[in-house]
């Protein structure tokens, strides 16, 4: 039943779109319930010329899950946690999950210790005996907790805490995949590596894939654009951030981290952008920015610019759902959120006092801070932070009523540390020159801001799109990336082309062709399609 390839009908409309709000089309659809069913569907399709798009929870912002014709596999019914493993030697805990498990579901299971594993094997039983709720956590924290794990792996998702813990990549210990021809692959970190730029990948059936890795150098910034390539690389990393173009993820083994005993969040308000940027650099340990030595690595450094706070002030008045967020004094121009993790409350307080010295050096009042040192207050700060993108979406939805062609233009670019001031000047200056409306917020610790251009009409929209492409060029020239966390998907393929140059894209295409010669798997992701443009 679940291996059935159903012809597409209107009732499936919701599966044609994701959070990017772009809409695609499909000819047929299937909802496999487990790995065997998924493999059977892929094998059936491999005998045809039908391209296939795989989708999870459709929370992506780059339309990677939006089908551009052909068959659509929805993994939303593969939602079981299958097993657990405890590595006593290094005190590491691992969970194996199906690809459709949601981040929220994983978090709930991890925090409660209730994994509901149907048939635990011996390893799992032994591991669960050692598990204590509250002692472990999964660090990647994208804003959208309803994301599916496979989607997070496919785009190498991150979140605020990635500043300290990194993106999803290092927490993927093993993957099971099915290739477009139906062959399967079980790959574990450390087991299969490239030799220089050559690789030979062993598959489950004893066959293997031989290929050559591209020779481009990846940008030395937080990155989610293009294949992850390094000499002698672990081949599992090809599939993480591979956006489903090389194989379909059917199982994921994730590594959990020991939960820090003390977690504090602090939002600091600044009177101007200069002092906020100096503070950010100070938090990164750049002593010259504030004159104060700061030796702590914060778990997160996030920024909300003056336009973001202004928008919140307006939405708080207008929309009941935002009425409960904390009150913003008129003198607050922008905000920087920092999060500290440590073994004890005392240690976090030492960090806060160090941070406070920087604020004093910058002439910022320690009164202009919000400190959260318990889960209830942390939740309040989280609501505040998430209110910014939610406000943007609501505003855009309003404007779309006037002109449905309008979408928000959200960037996801990151640059190396030394360009922080330069990129901020570029964003602010060119927005102003073009007379556009915008807000900027995000992971400033990694020089990774989401500039959201908010078009008021189609004229703004066109200007914004042009500006976006212009920035992709500028960011690439600085050695940055066009997508640091959302992935390229279909919407940012033109920008990837700018960043990678034609030569880079050709090498990527060649790599894909080794796995998927016909280009049938997730067509349109990363590479601009030759026939079809925006759907």
């Amino acid at each position: 039943m679940s291996t059935e390839i159903q012809p597409y009908q209107v009732e499936f409309d919701e599966y044609l779109r994701d959070e990017s709000r772009s809409v695609g089309h499909a000819d047929s659809i299937s909802f496999p319930k487990n790995e065997d069913e998924l493999i059977e569907i892929v094998r059936k399709l491999s005998k045809t010329e039908i391209p296939v798009t795989v989708q999870g929870a459709r929370t992506g912002l780059a339309a990677a899950a939006v089908p551009y014709g052909g068959h659509l596999i929805n993994i939303g019914r593969m939602t079981r946690i299958l097993g657990a493993r405890y590595d006593e030697q290094d005190n590491r805990f691992f969970l194996t999950a199906e690809p459709g498990v949601l981040l929220s579901q994983l978090r709930k299971a991890v925090s409660s210790g209730e994994f509901e594993i149907a048939e635990p094997d011996d390893l799992t039983q032994a591991a669960l005996c050692r598990y204590k709720a509250g002692e472990w956590f999964f660090s990647p924290d994208p804003t959208e907790a309803s994301a599916a794990l496979a989607g997070m792996v496919a785009c190498n998702a991150s979140g605020a805490r990635s500043f300290c813990y990194g993106p999803v990549r290092p927490y993927v210990e093993a993957l099971r995949l099915v290739l477009v021809d139906g062959r399967t692959l079980h790959i574990r970190r450390g087991e299969q590596k490239a030799k220089g730029r050559d690789f030979c990948l062993n598959l489950d059936d004893g066959s293997y894939i031989i290929g050559k890795l591209p020779d481009y150098a990846m940008p030395k910034v937080k990155n989610a654009s293009g294949y992850y390539i390094e000499e002698d690389m672990d081949l599992i990393d090809l599939f993480i951030g591979g956006e489903g173009t090389l194989g379909i993820i059917t199982q994921i083994e994730l590594r959990l981290l020991p939960m820090p005993k003390a977690v504090w969040g602090i939002t600091t308000f600044f009177p101007d952008e200069k002092s906020a940027l100096r503070f950010v650099r100070g938090l990164r340990g750049e002593k010259e920015a504030t004159g104060v030595e700061f030796s702590v690595k914060p778990a997160a450094i996030e920024f909300f610019n003056h336009k973001a706070l202004d928008l919140l002030r307006i939405q708080k008045q207008k929309i009941a759902a935002f009425a409960h967020i904390q009150e913003l004094k008129a003198t607050y121009y922008n905000a920087v959120y920092t999060e500290f993790h440590a073994d004890s409350e005392e240690k976090v307080w030492e960090m806060v006092e160090q941070m406070n010295q920087m604020l004093e050096a910058l002439g910022v009042s320690p009164e202009d801070t919000w400190v959260a040192n318990n889960p209830r207050d942390m939740e309040k700060l989280l609501v505040f932070r998430h209110a910014v993108p939610e406000s943007v979406n609501m505003l855009i939805d309003q404007r779309r009523q006037k002109d449905p062609a309008i979408t928000k233009l959200g960037t996801d670019m990151a640059v190396p540390d030394q360009y922080l001031d330069k990129i901020m000047d570029m964003y602010n200056g060119e927005i102003q020159t073009n007379g556009l409306d915008y807000v900027a917020f995000g992971h400033i610790g990694d020089n990774h801001l989401h500039v959201n251009i908010l078009p008021r009409d189609m004229e703004d929209y066109r200007k914004g799109k042009a500006l976006y492409l212009q920035w992709a060029n500028a960011v690439s020239a600085m050695g940055g990336t066009v997508s640091a966390e959302h992935g390229v998907g279909k919407l940012k393929a033109p920008f990837l082309a700018v960043m990678m140059t034609d030569a880079g894209i050709e090498q990527m295409r060649a790599l894909k062709a080794v796995f998927d010669p016909q280009g049938h798997l997730n067509p349109g992701n990363m590479f601009t399609m030759k026939k079809e443009g925006d759907a």
Partner: protein
């Protein structure tokens, strides 16, 4: 103006887990917090202080560790705090609590306004505020959603009622109990936390007062708990399965059988 805010320590969660084997309560490791309603009272006091100037004292009856929560109140903007703590106060019901708080309030003296949360989340009685007003012999306004004006000898409030709201004027001093509608409590600042950590909270015991011993603690409490039990809610429920269409059909059919539809 001098404001006293009465606060209480409560468990962070009211969840009660049962040990399925022994059929007893598991209530280990539950964190203690300031009663959420009291945080609105603290915030309101601070707003009054910011608007027209005030000296704010937080007052609590509780175990010695409540000092930490009172320091938390200081970190939010309360000026000082007093804890009433003594084994002799233990086991107090709302009447004995109101009397003990009365002693604390009178030792502070010379107050214009007493702010309380409308109820505590552990007991849910909403009785201590009005009882305190009565034993002090001053007026009260409960369930206040907004303070409209404070004059030299009066306060004008909007109070929530079952049918809407009322604008009520009271002479001062008075006890005001506040609801969640009244404000959005702030988070402490770094500067505030430093003040909180440095704050010295005096602890007063039964020996510090000339009191009527038969009105405090367990033996001074008119009410007594004779037993506690876990309520059972389980009933046999019928699960309606299928596609949304089938589920909706089944439900409408059931409601029709039960004559719960108007047509």
């Amino acid at each position: 103006m001098k404001i006293i805010v009465c606060v209480k320590q409560v468990p962070a969660t009211n969840e009660v887990k049962m040990d399925p084997v022994t059929n007893t309560i598991i209530r280990e490791g539950v964190e203690s917090i300031l009663n959420p309603f009291d945080t609105y009272a603290i915030e309101e006091a601070i707003r009054i202080k910011e608007k027209q100037g005030a000296q704010i004292t937080a007052l609590s009856m509780g175990i010695p560790s409540v000092v930490t929560l009172l320091q938390e109140a200081v970190s939010l903007g309360v000026d000082d705090a007093i804890l009433l703590s003594d084994r002799a106060f233990a086991g107090a019901d709302t009447m004995a609590t109101a009397y003990t708080l009365q002693l604390g309030v009178e030792s502070i003296g010379d107050y214009d306004l007493i702010l309380c949360g409308k109820m505590a989340t552990d007991g849910d009685t909403a009785q201590v505020g009005p009882m305190l007003a009565e034993v002090l012999g001053i007026p009260q306004i409960t369930d206040v959603g907004e303070i409209l004006e404070i004059g030299t000898d009066f306060i004008l409030c909007r109070r929530m009622t079952d049918d809407g709201y009322e604008t009520v004027k009271s002479k001062l001093p008075a006890v005001i109990t506040v609801t969640k509608e009244i404000n959005i409590p702030r988070l402490p600042s770094i500067a505030g936390m430093k003040r909180g950590k440095a704050a010295k909270v005096p602890v007063m015991t039964s020996k510090d007062f000339q009191l009527e011993a038969e009105r405090i603690g367990l033996s001074g409490s008119p009410t007594q708990v004779v037993r506690t039990f876990i309520p059972s809610h389980d009933i046999a429920s019928e699960v309606l399965t299928g596609s949304p269409t089938e589920q909706a059909e089944a439900l409408i059919e059931k409601l029709r059988e039960q004559k719960l539809l108007n047509w």
